[in-house]
């Protein structure tokens, strides 16, 4: 080190040290840095999905705060006098007029509004994909079941935030959306009518709903969401992140990069990339052009109406119900055409939410699981997930049934009837195919673990036979294929009182469903045995033997 730089460095570092010391004396921040500064985060592309969700939420918070300075949630009637000529003089609510002002008269307002809307769409999409990643890799297992449930709370809140925000401009499309919500709420037995009147402050649309949704959208829902999000992240720290199986990775360690500096650089940089991509979308692609829809009026509506994508599954469920499912009984109206879709939507939310507890009840596996499953190694779970995704996807497609019909020149009735059938048969077919594909992939993995990969080298044996030389995997590659959890179906045995309870029978049945088609991981003995066959076969075929030997040596 040169002597000229020495004193300079000491001075700067002494400033930093003094500042750090000042803060530490008042906060014990050094303990936090010691605890978390070198915390390890594993790397995998799929772990970014949750990050995308988190970062787009931050973007929404920032842009939403900007919008609150200009948006006015009043349903008072006014005549629009802003810059957008086609709507000049049109009577509309102050909420709609202020949204138009943000879009046309505030510099950068349209950009921020579009960032907010695109960000919201990305937030919910990323949340959904993150949940699928967690489901298909089985990382909801002990000790993460509760965090999975919290995640569902976040998902529901995200959709609630989306819907309340979507309704705030008070335009024609969102007004129709609210009308549909009102119709749904009124269909609830006993309390529906009253809930609707309390929500809207009277008859639809009233003059209260936008203000109330605004309170929900910017105060209540975000507060709960931030609290749950914080809890969600605390659990991620407590549990430490899961990792995929790989050499050196065990259930008792976590391999990856430390927070300071590498993870901070990558994740911090990734935040800016997510933010930047959302801004690019907002710069080049319009979203929710309310000026094309006009103010809310209960009478007009345009063909091809659709909600934002994440509400599509609910709208689709409403569309697929066959006619006539409403009865009058006990002098009351029972709207099963509303109730059945509501139950279906509830099932889409609740069944996956309780799935970890169901799977645990079947396996009674009380170990902690920190190694993410490859989806193929849990064929039944993956099949169930595929069935759920298919059901959701059919409902989602149904929300565009009319557009599908016009685009592909089909009769709308045929589209609906096809989707009705697909909603019931699709999940079954998806389950069967997915499970079979998973088992096939496991068989392939087993084959590779036992016999190695085809090298492409053809060798002619002295007897005239041609064989292809297989290259054995090295220990590291093989480990990825053999290190998964294996389960066997439950054998029914009487309990201590000599009885077999109904619950045991159900559990045994379910465990057969889950684990009867079972491909056990390759063991050392399996490999030895398969090699044994090899040796026996190759003993008389020295050339082949030496070919493999040479191959191994080269490796």
């Amino acid at each position: 080190m040169s002597t000229t730089t020495e004193p300079k460095r000491t001075r700067t570092s002494s400033y930093t040290a003094a500042a750090a010391n000042y803060i530490d004396e008042r906060t014990t921040i050094s303990a936090v840095v010691k605890e978390f500064g070198r915390k390890i985060f594993p790397d995998h592309w799929s772990f970014m999905l949750g990050e995308v969700a988190l970062y787009s939420f931050v973007v929404i918070l920032l842009t939403g705060t900007f919008l609150t300075f200009f948006y006015d949630p009043s349903m008072a009637e006014t005549h629009y006098e802003g810059s957008y000529v086609p709507l000049k003089g049109v009577e509309m609510s102050v909420a709609m007029a202020s949204t138009l002002d943000i879009s046309f008269d505030i510099r950068g307002g349209l950009l921020i509004r579009q960032i907010h809307h695109w960000g919201a769409l990305l937030f919910i999409a990323a949340t959904g994909l993150h949940m699928l990643r967690v489901f298909f890799t089985g990382t909801f297992r002990k000790p993460r079941e509760l965090n999975w449930v919290i995640g569902f709370g976040l998902f529901i809140l995200a959709m609630g935030e989306g819907f309340t925000g979507y309704s705030l401009p008070d335009d024609l499309l969102s007004g129709n959306g609210l009308r549909i919500i009102e119709g749904l709420v009124m269909g609830i037995p006993v309390i529906g009518t009253w809930i609707s009147f309390l929500l809207f402050g009277g008859e639809f649309p009233g003059t209260a709903i936008v203000g109330r949704l605004y309170t929900l959208h910017i105060l209540l829902l975000p507060a709960v969401l931030v609290a749950l999000l914080a809890l969600h992240l605390v659990f991620v720290v407590v549990h430490k992140h899961t990792q995929f199986a790989g050499p050196g990775r065990t259930n008792e360690n976590v391999l990856g990069v430390p927070i300071l500096p590498t993870f901070a650089a990558k994740a911090g940089g990734f935040f800016f990339i997510v933010f930047g991509v959302i801004v690019v979308m907002a710069t080049f692609f319009a979203i929710n052009p309310i000026w094309n829809y006009g103010p809310y009026d209960p009478s007009p509506v345009s063909a091809g109406t659709q909600p934002d994508w994440y509400i599509g599954f609910a709208d689709g469920a409403l569309r697929l119900i066959p006619p006539g499912l409403e009865i009058e009984f006990l002098n009351r109206t029972w709207s099963f055409n509303i109730l059945i879709p509501m139950v279906a939507l509830g099932a889409i939310i609740v069944l996956p939410m309780i799935y970890p507890f169901l799977e645990h009840w079947i396996t009674r596996d009380n170990r902690e699981h920190h190694i993410a499953d490859r989806p193929r190694n849990a064929p039944t779970r993956t099949g169930i997930g595929a069935a759920g995704v298919t059901f959701y996807g059919v409902l989602w497609a149904a929300a565009s049934s009319d557009l599908i019909a016009t685009h592909f020149d089909l009769a709308m009735e045929h589209v609906i009837h096809f989707l009705q059938a697909a909603a019931i048969l699709g999940p079954v077919v998806a389950y069967l195919i997915t499970k079979r594909v998973c088992l096939a992939l496991m068989k392939k993995d087993r084959e590779i673990a036992l016999h190695g990969i085809e090298s492409g080298r053809i060798v002619k044996l002295p007897g005239g036979e041609f064989i292809e030389v297989h290259e054995q995997l090295d220990d590291y590659d093989r480990w990825k294929l053999v290190s998964y959890n294996d389960y066997a179906p439950l054998m029914i045995r009487p309990n201590s009182r000599g009885k077999i309870t109904a619950a045991t029978r159900v559990r045994a049945g379910l465990s057969r469903w889950f684990f009867e088609d079972r491909i056990a991981p390759v063991t050392r003995r399996d490999v030895e045995l398969s090699h044994g066959e090899h040796h026996a076969a190759a003993a008389i075929e020295g050339e082949h033997q030496s070919a493999i030997g040479a191959d191994r040596n080269r490796h």
């Binding site: 008269d105 009277g202 650089a265 990558k266 800016f272 930047g276 902690e368």
Partner: protein, 370 residues
């Protein structure tokens, strides 16, 4: 976190590559039941971390320099993007009544901010990937469950608190506390009752009538001009609101119930039931426009087939058969508005709808009885 081993446990993977070949059967695996899990006795052992492969930037100082240049160039580019965004804010202002200027403003500010953000992001990630150490490190996990000593102490604390407060022993104190705690949020819930103020009309009654009554003229939506029967030509359809809706104090609420569709068919095309024969006029029929499913406006009329289609959920109603449902999720026909013609030839309502319009609600069946 209570994990006070944290820092000490972190070791470079390279140093201990062999020592981490921990079999699956470590500590908790033996003490915790695997349930239906099968652990083969001769399973493969974890081979440990593979040897580290250095990157080009670790080996070639030139490549390292180049990565460094890329990173700082991107940071400067980001700086330029931010400056450009501010310049665009002033340089591309929104001019009054000029949509193109709004578009330009949006585009230019957006490009500036995009550049500022993406350049920072890509630079930081590149820095992390190319220049910061990428060799994986190991952190040890500990079972999430508290240590036996911690758990024992927690139980002890609860016991002691219980003893000191008498919560378990003094059952009257405990039960009255629970009662008080259950009751205290109830006023907060009751306070929300006036989200729909108590002095307002009963919901069921409000839903059961509309602005239509005997003699109210049918007028065009939204102009409000009355409609002569002679103007309704065969095959035409009118979007209708009641006369005087404009003056109504609750314009949107009344419109949401009173919107009507008026169509003229050939009288022989209408299959009218006996008691409703007098509700139409010379093939002109009026039906509520509010869908009986969830309340969207049934705005699409197919002239040839005389079907009405709701664009929201595709319920279809057959106008020739009193708007009965022929497809889609709706369950009930659209309510019919009985119409007639006044002395001046204008279409008028004979009365209000004879049943509540719009989506079903719980008490609806009881309204029908009255």
């Amino acid at each position: 976190m209570a994990d006070d081993h944290g820092a000490r446990d972190v070791v470079s993977a390279g140093q201990s590559a062999r020592s981490v070949a921990v079999p699956v059967s470590a500590s908790q695996e033996t003490s915790v039941s695997p349930g239906l899990g099968v652990i083969a006795p001769d399973r493969f052992e974890n081979p440990g971390i593979p040897p580290h492969q250095p990157r080009v930037t670790d080996l070639d100082p030139k490549k390292e320099k180049r990565a460094e240049r890329t990173v700082y160039t991107l940071f400067y580019l980001s700086l330029a993007g931010s400056v450009f965004a501010i310049a665009a804010y002033f340089g591309f202002p929104i001019e009054e009544n000029n949509i193109a200027s709004t578009r330009m403003n949006n585009l230019m500010i957006g490009i500036g901010i995009s550049l500022a953000l993406l350049a920072i992001g890509i630079a930081a990630v590149h820095w992390g990937k190319a220049l910061m150490p990428e060799e994986e490190m190991i952190d040890h996990r500990h079972p999430v469950i508290g240590s036996p000593a911690t758990r024992a102490r927690a139980v002890e604390i609860f016991d002691q608190a219980n003893k000191e407060s008498g919560l378990g022993r003094r059952s009257l104190l405990r039960n009255s506390l629970i009662g008080a705690l259950v009751a205290f949020p109830l006023p907060a819930i009751v306070l929300f009752r006036d989200l729909y103020p108590g002095n307002q009309e009963d919901p069921v009654s409000a839903l059961s009538h509309t602005m239509w009554k005997e003699g109210v003229r049918l007028t065009r939506d939204p102009s409000g001009t009355p409609i002569r029967a002679s103007e309704v030509t065969l095959g035409s359809a009118f979007h209708v609101i009641p006369e005087g809706l404009d003056e109504s104090e609750h314009y949107l609420e009344e419109k949401a119930k009173a919107a009507v569709l008026l169509m003229r068919l050939r009288p022989d095309e209408l299959n009218e039931i006996e008691e409703r024969k007098s509700w139409s006029y010379d093939g002109i029929v009026a039906y509520s426009k509010i869908c009986t499913h969830v309340g969207c406006p049934v705005a699409l009329y197919e002239q040839i087939t005389h079907h009405l289609l709701c664009p929201c959920h595709q319920s279809q109603f057959d106008v020739t058969n009193h708007c009965e449902v022929i497809f889609g999720p709706a369950a009930r026909p659209l309510p019919q508005l009985p119409i007639a013609v006044d002395d001046e030839g204008y279409l008028i309502a004979q009365s209000d709808f004879t049943e509540p319009v719009g989506p079903s609600f719980w008490e609806r069946a009881s309204v029908n009885d009255n």
